[in-house]
């Protein structure tokens, strides 16, 4: 090291006293030092990249698994609706009343909003119809200031939007010849910041700046109301230059689960229900597709091998209020099969997912397991399978399928079209399906959304399909960029990316990866917790001697078999479970970190696990039963719902346990249950994490400030 010796300092900033004169190290040494540091740092960055990728995988797997569960639930609803006229003598059609409310004719009349008085004290925008630019500017300014639009104007806006949409066809045809360039945006999911950023970068909607928004304006994000109001306002202002496609989240049953219903009820306590009713109508009236210059097809989800644009143009789209309500079936057609396990939807997309080839072979295996007779097709709800006959479905089912395919499908790498019979709707479509449809209709490109992409966009099927996604930081701060497409007369798409940042200080990649990773791992651990007993069964099969240990391979096998998330379990192992000194996995350690929210003595661990796993589904059912959205349901309703639910889950939980539970939750003994409190008990607390879950959000904000 040259002539001068360097002495390692213990603390920083202190000058080191030296005997020898400081000498400049020679060039060879400097180079060696530089190489060493570069090597070290590059490796660190590469590890970060690995973590980022598997974090992404976790989010995606869980998100899709969640939606799968959601659809399982709705097949249960449909079945109940169609076939149960009495529920334990509690009068006719309890569920049908809840899910199929008689449309209030009041809402179709102008006076539904004009009788609402707007107080003097209201300082928000006062819209005047027909809308002008000053109205939309007022809305933009108000929403930036966190103001809420008065219910009267919301209702009027929706009423006018409904009138306008009724005149529109199912498929809108646009032309670039009269405009400069058309901007196409993907999912927004209630992210007002992203919408404002797009308007800032690209310009407000106008004759010079036409837009197509490709669905999923609401749910998940906190400002769904503001986003959708702005979009509808611009639609009314520039009906020829603003175009909205329906997404799978423009659906009142999805809204019940994913947050839009809740947001509306919180912001509009008095008129929330009417507003929601109008939203339901407006959503079902949204066009389902847009075509540019007869060459570019834009739909929210994708296509299937049955997609026929001519047929799609002809149907009455507003009749499909929700994709999650299957067309009517008669009682004779249905026949409850054996209880089988839920099989999750398998993801077969290119891009961010590893091991697609493994998934494909798994798909084959489970297809074989499911076959119960050639002329019937299996459709599950919850944990049982229902077997329905195959022959040609009635007209309204074909219409339903056309719309659902277009709103719910996803592209896959492999050829062919695999209808997801578990969902009863939506497909995975291969490059051959794309090719065929494009040829058939003289198209050259399919633009769709529906899936979050790291860079905000992604090409597949040899460039014939583009996915465009406009909600940046969708999973977590820093998880992904948002993007939009601009396309002009030459019909060549150009991509524009962006990312909303919550903080002014730039986050390092490390910080972003750590935050996202933490979030993903929490979600994953909750999944493990929710399937604890099945997992333990699986582990014990490999551990006949009750040592509490299995090999890493066995551990990974069990996790994949039970959870079916197709994740790199070996890579994730250090975050999920402890190793014994001999290198095997102590499988109990998977569950150490987790515990229930509020311990209820009546709740056995079995019941707790079931309630935890189906917590979101139970919440949806409660939300439906709670018609006035007061947060309370009667004990009687609670009991009925629970019995129905557990009958189909095949979970043996006796009535007395439920009754005890209901009574203990009725804290003020007035015969009604505050189900938010009930559900609190089945939220999972991460013991090693921040104590107060409400604090954790504040904390994560603080971290970056």
């Amino acid at each position: 090291m040259g002539c001068g010796t360097s002495v390692a300092t213990e603390t920083q900033g202190k000058r080191v006293e030296r005997d020898e004169a400081v000498q400049t190290p020679g060039p060879a040494l400097t180079m060696k030092a530089a190489v060493l540091i570069q090597r070290w740092y590059r490796r660190y960055m590469a590890r970060l990249e690995m973590r980022r990728r598997y974090t992404w995988n976790i989010f995606q797997s869980i998100e899709y698994a969640g939606e799968q569960d959601q659809l399982q639930l709705s097949s249960f609803f449909s079945f109940m609706l169609d076939n149960f006229t009495q529920l334990n003598g509690n009068g006719p059609d309890l569920i049908s009343q809840l899910l199929d409310p008689v449309v209030d004719p009041w809402l179709d009349r102008e006076i539904c909003y004009s009788l609402i008085l707007v107080p003097e004290s209201y300082s928000g925008p006062r819209l005047s119809f027909p809308l002008s630019v000053s109205d939309t500017n007022a809305l933009l300014a108000a929403f930036k200031e966190q103001q809420t639009l008065h219910a009267r104007y919301v209702l009027q806006l929706l009423y006018e939007t409904k009138k306008l949409l009724k005149q529109m066809p199912n498929i809108i045809h646009l032309s670039t010849s009269y405009t400069k360039e058309i901007t196409i945006c993907g999912d927004l999911h209630g992210r007002l910041d992203d919408l404002l950023l797009i308007f800032y970068k690209n310009g407000l909607p106008s004759a010079e700046t036409p837009y197509v928004f490709n669905g999923d304006f609401v749910d998940r994000g906190k400002k769904s109301v503001e986003v959708v109001i702005l979009l509808f306002a611009y639609l009314l202002l520039y009906p020829d230059n603003m175009h909205l496609n329906r997404g799978n989240h423009e659906d009142y049953i999805m809204n019940l689960r994913y947050g839009f219903t809740k947001e509306v009820m919180q912001k509009y306590k008095t008129h929330g229900q009417e507003i929601l009713q109008l939203f339901q109508d407006v959503f079902s009236l949204l066009p389902v597709a847009t075509v540019i210059d007869g060459k570019i097809l834009i739909v929210h989800g994708g296509i299937s091998d049955q997609t026929n644009l001519d047929f799609l143009s002809s149907i009455e789209r507003h009749k499909v209020k929700s994709a999650l309500r299957f067309p009517k079936r008669s009682l004779e057609q249905l026949d409850i099969g054996q209880s089988c396990r839920l099989t999750k939807r398998l993801r077969l997309t290119d891009g961010s997912r590893p091991s697609s080839s493994r998934s494909h072979s798994k798909n084959q295996r489970t297809q074989n397991q499911r076959r119960c007779g050639l002329s019937r097709q299996d459709m599950p709800f919850l944990d049982s399978l229902t077997s329905v006959p195959l022959p040609s479905p009635p007209q309204n089912e074909q219409e339903w399928k056309q719309i659902v395919d277009v709103l719910w499908s996803d592209p896959k790498i492999q050829e062919g079209c695999s209808p997801n019979t578990f969902r009863g709707g939506g497909c995975y479509f291969g490059p051959d399906v794309t090719q065929r449809l494009l040829l058939q209709h003289g198209l050259q490109l399919l633009i769709r959304s529906h899936e979050c992409k790291q860079e905000g966009y992604e090409l597949c099927h040899g460039g014939q399909v583009i996915t465009i996604f406009s909600a940046s930081n969708y999973y977590e701060e820093g998880s992904n960029r948002g993007a939009y497409i601009k396309v002009g007369r030459e019909l060549v798409p150009r991509f524009y990316q962006y990312q909303v940042s919550r903080t002014t200080r730039k986050l390092t990649l490390t910080q972003r990866v750590r935050a996202a990773e933490g979030s993903a791992l929490r979600a994953l651990k909750e999944k493990l917790f929710a399937h604890r007993s099945e997992l333990m069964c699986g582990f014990q099969e490999y551990d006949q001697n009750y040592t509490g240990r299995v090999s890493v391979s066995e551990w990974a096998l069990v996790l994949e078999a039970v959870l079916r998330l197709d994740l790199p379990w070996r890579t994730l192992r250090p975050h999920l479970a402890r190793l014994a000194p001999d290198g095997s996995v102590e499988y109990q350690s998977c569950f150490e970190d987790m515990g229930p929210g509020i311990p209820l003595p009546q709740v056995t661990s079995n019941l707790a696990e079931t309630l935890f796993r189906y917590r979101t589904d139970i919440e949806i059912i409660f939300n439906i039963i709670d018609k006035d959205h007061s947060g309370l349901i009667s004990i009687e309703e609670f009991r009925h719902t629970w019995r129905l639910f557990s009958a189909h889950l095949g979970v043996a939980i006796d009535d007395s346990a439920i009754d005890d539970l209901a009574r203990s939750i009725d804290f003020n003994k007035d015969g009604s249950i505050d189900f938010t409190e009930f559900l609190e008990a089945f939220r999972v607390v991460h013991k090693l994490d921040s104590k107060d879950p409400h604090l954790s959000e504040k904390m994560s904000r603080k971290k970056y400030s």
Binding site: Q12, P25, A33, A34, V35, A46, D350, S356, G583
Partner: protein
Amino acid sequence: MMSQTDETPAVAKRRDNNMAESNNQSAETKLSDVHKRIKAAFETFDNAANNTVDVREIGTIIYSLGCFPSQADLHDFIAEVEEDHSGYIHLDRFLPAMTKVLLEHKFPPIPKDLLLQAFEVLDKDNKGYLEPEELTKYMTQEGEPFTQEEMEEMLTGLADHERNVIYYKDVINQLAIDPDM
């Protein structure tokens, strides 16, 4: 004297821990485990599910398996396994080459004190920290230079927020690698 091949006790211990999973197993099981690790890392980057990865991802894959090759090391490795400059590397060739690397511990980790000495070489005035301009000069002009992107990320990541200098001793400790696979 600074040398890249010195193995400190810390390094030896880490290596032994890496082998912990295979200590009580037969040679075949150990080999099979190594293969599984390699395949798992490979598959994460195999986007088209056809057992090939883009050659530009090889560095990341090798790093993620616990190795610390230099760029020169990487070039040599790639030359061995790449399919005739196609830009792709097939698992069939990657697996044996990588297995050898892992079993022979070819690219061992850099011990912390060695890293510290490296920083001290660059810190000619012995301040205990490096100015961003100093570090940039070395990282982008010496050794196996960083790209501008790499440099920006490094500065954002490592610089102290108030003083805007790099306290390298802190940084070495902070950038602890997460639990090894």
